[in-house]
Amino acid sequence: MKSLFYIFIKTIKNFIKEFFKKPLNTIFFIFMIGLLILMMFLPKLDPTIAEDAQPVWILKAIMFAYSGIYLLGAFASGFKNGASMFEMSDINMVFTGPIISRHVLIYGMLKSVTNALLLCIMVIWQSVIFAMFGYDGRGIFITVLLFMFVMVICQFLQMVIYLLTFGRKKRRVAVGIIGGAMFIPLVIKAIYEFTTQIDFMVAAERTVNSPYFNYVPVIGWMSGASADFGMAMSTLPDRSGDIAQGFVLVGLLVLAIIACAVFIIRSKADFYEDAIIAGETRFAVQRDLAEGNVNNIYSPKAHSKKPLKLKKTGVGGSGANAFLFRQLREAFRESFFGLWGGMNIFQICVMIGFGVGISLGGNDGIGELTGEEFMLFILAMLSFTQIVMVSIGRGMRELLTHFIYMVPENPLKKIIWANMTTLIKTAVEAVLYFGIIGIAAKASIPLIIACILCYTAFTFYYVGLQMAFERIELASKGLMLGVFFLVFIAFMSPGAIAGIIVGIITNSIATGVFIISAWLIIAGFISFAIGKGVLHNMDIPTQISAK
């Protein structure tokens, strides 16, 4: 046990030492602490916050959904192979050492908890959001602690579910049903409120503030306790929280942690074999990344053991466009819908549903917006989400293996064709989004076409600039990101300004959007032209990360 304690403490010490070796990390740490202190005094410094503070039930719902994602992940991981609590170094050295296996298990649990806790610090990053709901620093601090509890439970729950099911289908179904049953009272309550209340917001508020919400295991306890403590400690005059209930909910979280830990430690299962498989899988991913074998990491079916029926075979194209045809062949083997996965389709349906729902809801325009202005709002919103969605596109992945560098074709053509699947995907989505929402919002045909063009051109420009930035090496990734977005906005601005001016002069939104699109296409080509140097004047990115 002494040896395990030594490794555990030493690893943490070394991590802290390494972390503070980089001056930027130290600055980041001081910034986070400063942010927390600032939040503590923010309501006093800025009294307008008290006037503008939003109702806390909205935050409760957000926290519920956010931690729900982790809980769902814990179930999914538990059904597969449990969490990988061990590194390859543990497997090679600790497993083979003369140490009691239960002690090894406790060591693994402590390690996984430490890793999970690091994630919680990110909650502080969201301090401003909490402040908007009336939280002060103490409330935020308690929420971070509560989120830590959820993370620990999720870590342990993966192992518990794995030990309960061992990958057997019937047991998985049973555990899944029990997991789903936890939500039944809340669902019944929600159905009741939404069918009896006319106002959507009132129904939502009544559902979230009900005990059925607070007592949903783990995520309900967490969000409920956070709201109770956050509001009880709030300095805003109109806020109050039920501290007694908060303590009960925290107690439930602690009990859940103890129950999971006791179950894992007392289980008689031989976890070594499973831990080895999980550890090796994790190690294989790290190795693939270091060796530049990224195709295995990003392909969703690369590690699937399920045999795949090959309906069509062959790769088309000639020269640089062979990259496009190869990517299409791969995409249709990875997903029935090719370039679109299940989550993509869900997102498209939600966005279209949202756009159409709001468009059809208004009689003389949508809220304060006209149909055409609403199209602009949708265009801006979708373009913003696109920034997140295309960050690890197939074109970027192409840069990580040697083929694209070795093929004797014009580098500009190569990087454009390598990114073509992203552009095709965006164009098809643009037709769906703006075609359907445009009809619902009664927008003019030229504006619908302009929005489709602008959305696609925006992606073209964004991907092109990403390629151009691959040529720049800065000391810090954070600095790189900051510079990227500054350049991104600055380079886009002339087109945007010209579009707005022309739109106002001609009194036509469509004309303005066409101008912006034209500029984005030009800016995209310029970016790609600069970015082509990445294929003959830079280090292959995997080499950089390996060093």
């Binding site: 079916k301 020269g319 083929f403 093929v407 004797p408 014009n410």
Partner: protein, 263 residues
């Protein structure tokens, strides 16, 4: 065919290749020998155009990053990076299409048969073992019939049959006039095939040995003489290295300004 002149490659403060020069003629098999971390893979990747560097590299007389050079260069990386959702045959088809090869099918079949992959044509990349993936990687590199082929640790992960076939193939390639450059740290694996050997250590070519000039000496003996001597003088070297690094920094800065002037 492959000409490397005064190549220096740095990763921040680390000098991975320090003023490396080497040459491989048509029909010649050159090997780069060296311990782990000697800078073998770095010089290989620089030759293939995957890294930026200071110095000159030409393939068949063309700068290595030109299309002409890429057309006649084949590269087999240390770690095969295949596409998991493409079949073995589709990998070759992709290379054929990307390189605009004509009548490539017969050669593809020959390569697949030679490496015993003909019955695995429809297997996906993800279904192959590492050794099989390495074989596909070799087939992909050789399909465009390159005049210069670079192998980075080619025998790692291969089964005995594949090793034998690859060695035979290397001999055949050299006989047909192809220039071969092989990086390895396994001396036995290349004992029979090499013509010229560059022994590298700490990013520097310590010695160039030609088989014809070897006499009774074994390559292994020369290798250990050089690398162990370097290890013995490590303490002394480290002092020199500091001064060398400073001079390299100055040199690379001078090269940078020269390059700018060329542009």
């Amino acid at each position: 065919m492959i000409n490397v002149k005064n190549v220096t490659k740095r990763y921040n403060k680390l000098v991975a290749n320090d003023n490396v020069s080497l040459e491989v003629n048509p029909g010649e098999t050159a090997i780069i020998l060296g311990p782990n971390g000697a800078g073998k893979s770095t010089i290989i990747k620089s030759i293939c155009g995957l890294l930026k560097f200071f110095g000159d590299i030409t393939i068949g007389g063309y700068p290595n990053k030109t299309l002409e050079a890429k057309r006649i260069l084949g590269y087999i990386p240390e770690f095969p990076a295949l596409y998991p959702m493409l079949t073995v045959y589709e990998h070759l088809e992709f290379i054929a299409k990307a390189y605009r090869l004509e009548n490539w099918e017969t050669r593809a079949e020959e390569l697949l048969t030679r490496f015993e992959l003909d019955d695995k044509k429809n297997k996906l990349g993800k279904e192959l073992s590492k050794g099989m993936q390495q074989k596909v990687s070799v087939c992909c590199a050789l399909l465009p019939e390159p005049k210069a082929v670079i192998f980075d640790e080619p025998l790692v992960g291969l089964d005995p049959h594949a090793i034998r076939e690859l060695k035979k193939l290397m001999v055949d390639l050299a006989q047909s006039g192809t220039a071969l450059l092989i990086s390895t740290h396994m001396i036995d694996s290349v004992e029979q095939t090499w013509d010229v050997c560059y022994i590298m250590d700490k990013g520097v070519v310590k010695q160039c040995v030609r088989r014809t000039e070897m006499g009774d000496k074994k390559l292994e003996d020369i290798y250990f003489e050089i690398t162990e001597a370097t290890a013995d003088t490590d303490g002394v070297d480290s002092k020199h290295q500091m001064t060398e690094e400073k001079s390299i920094t100055k040199k690379t800065e001078a090269e940078k300004s020269e390059n700018k002037a060329d542009e």
